[in-house]
Point group: C2
Chain length 337, copies 2
């Protein structure tokens, strides 16, 4: 098990163009998965590994966990960067959700450390079970094509004017394989801090829905779901690239041009146009409504969030921002509270 | 409800280029869905509707059901074509599964009637619930990208040297809407004969897994799954078309050319190459192994079903059929049993 485990991770990193002398940052929660990833990197001879840990201050024990991380790094003679963000307070200030704020804080932290250390790669310990849970979660939330492609082994991030690669070299490794590796190597770890995060839906998917799927099919479904994530990611990548090859989205959409596009490209082009106009919450229904402006006669106007709308006129689709009065009201509400 | 119901079906048929005077064949089981579809077509003024019914002879009551269909047609002054195929016996003769044989028999029947009646469209009464059940079923079976796109509102069929369109104008209508329409119109129907078909997994998906998904997410998932099927179909259609635009798959695959392709196209091209070489059971793992012949150095040979294999040599991938001896053994087994 152990050699295969390490080999798999090294293979994934080699595919991303990394060798054992390259500097790596490892997103390190102290849980079983990130401990296993770190141990495998050391076994494989990676010599320039820095652990990075963000204390989200969401649980009373998180400060003690950060200390545990520091001592883990010290014992193994590893460089470590630890920071703390009071996510709950920040979320309240921003009027945003806890999970969303935590994610933003984490990525900002990754970007900062990557810049400070002049390091282009941050490794995360997401594994095959995480991957299928993500797929099922996004599927049942009605994700668009991008969301359905689940997590990529390599994705480019652009945060704080700095680019780095987010690498997930364990997406092909199952939780049971990680458990066996951790046990065999006698590794210490914190008891799954991520399970205590407020993402209860994900825990329900993990603990009950996947089992119900297996009962229903009378056979394991894990491999099938994993392959699906793999297939969908490649297909979505291709469609996304094809849309990007069409070039910049113009300020006004040309109805005739849109109609010539295959439906998948039309939808993605409309989604990009909305995104570049600053529209938030771009879901399937919104993209569909604006696409129908191009494909059908009526209606010639579609309401967008926050008082904006899209209007078809003389063969073109225009974006019309919210009326000035509404902008002022929204702005003053924001300033007041 | 009723006008919307009919309007939705007329809209779907208009999108497929059909008007009320075009001749239509309706796959008619006598169940609630096909009865509702037929009633809606008549309400909408379609004047040239023929019901077509195949008695699969899989249940003792199927002959009586065929008679019920005949009398339903007579009462409504509709043309009807009824045929009978002893599916169980046929499956035993062919050494194939019941469901697969039933599907082949049904499509052969559709093709024959379409030819005899010089009619280009066969309508099926699959609805939105069928669509999401299909998506979940295929997802959990680990379908490839084609399978994941679920059912299309219009698909071209080529059977017995004749092409016709299979239309599903009710894919946007939910079972509850059909129930309400049937009740309001006071329509008679056979008690869901399709529920008694041996597709138990599908019944488990319908009756328990979808409910578990809603419990897990704490909200309805039907709309989300339906949108997913819609998104995936358009994306898969586009990737499929892009692959077809690459032109015919050559007898031998050029490794260098394959490597230039986006992963989604590489996989689809390999799948088509295998399919055109007569390889059966082309699943994800097989496509992946052959793709790896192009992407990696070793191994240079991949075993295919029935003793065939794919071999990489001098920058090309060759298909090698089974050895003559194995062919003879397989052939004699087929002749003996």
């Amino acid at each position: 098990m152990a050699p295969d485990f390490t080999k798999c991770i090294v293979g994934a990193l080699a595919a991303a163009g990394l060798s054992t002398t390259d500097p790596l940052l490892v997103g390190f929660s102290g849980g079983r998965d990130s401990v296993a990833l770190t141990a495998a990197l050391l076994l494989a001879g990676f010599s320039n590994v820095t652990l990075i840990h963000l204390d989200h201050a969401l649980r009373p024990e998180s400060a003690a966990e950060a200390e545990w991380v520091a001592s883990f790094a010290q014992t193994r003679n590893l460089d470590v960067v630890i920071d703390r963000v009071a996510v709950a307070e920040l979320a309240a200030q921003m009027g945003a959700g806890i999970e969303e704020t935590a994610r933003h804080a984490r990525h900002a932290f990754f970007a900062t450390v990557a810049r400070e250390r002049a390091c282009s790669s941050v490794l995360l310990a997401h594994h095959a079970n995480d991957q299928i849970e993500t797929l099922v979660f996004r599927l049942l939330r009605g994700a668009g094509p991008g969301g359905l492609s689940a997590m990529a082994p390599k994705s480019e991030r652009h945060e704080e004017r700095r680019s780095y690669s987010l690498l997930r070299p364990m997406l092909g490794i199952w939780r049971a394989e990680i458990d066996a590796f951790v046990k065999k190597q006698g590794l210490p770890f914190l008891e799954d801090p991520s399970n205590a995060l407020p993402d209860f839906t994900r825990n329900r998917i993990r603990h009950s829905l996947l089992a119900e799927m297996e009962r229903c099919m009378r056979r394991p479904v894990h491999e099938a779901l994993w392959r699906t994530a793999e297939v969908l990611r490649a297909e979505a990548d291709f469609v996304k690239t094809a849309e990007l090859l069409l070039g910049p989205v113009p300020e006004q959409l040309d109805v005739f041009e849109l109609r010539q596009l295959p439906l998948a490209l039309l939808r993605r082009r409309v989604a990009r146009w909305l995104s570049e106009r600053g529209v938030s919450d771009i879901g399937f229904d919104l993209v569909e409504s604006v696409s129908h402006l191009a494909l059908r006669i009526a209606p010639a106007k579609v309401n967008l969030p926050k008082g904006a709308h899209a209007r078809r006129k003389a063969g073109r689709i225009f974006f019309e921002g919210p009326p000035l009065l509404l902008c002022l009201i929204l702005l003053s509400l924001r300033l007041l509270f």
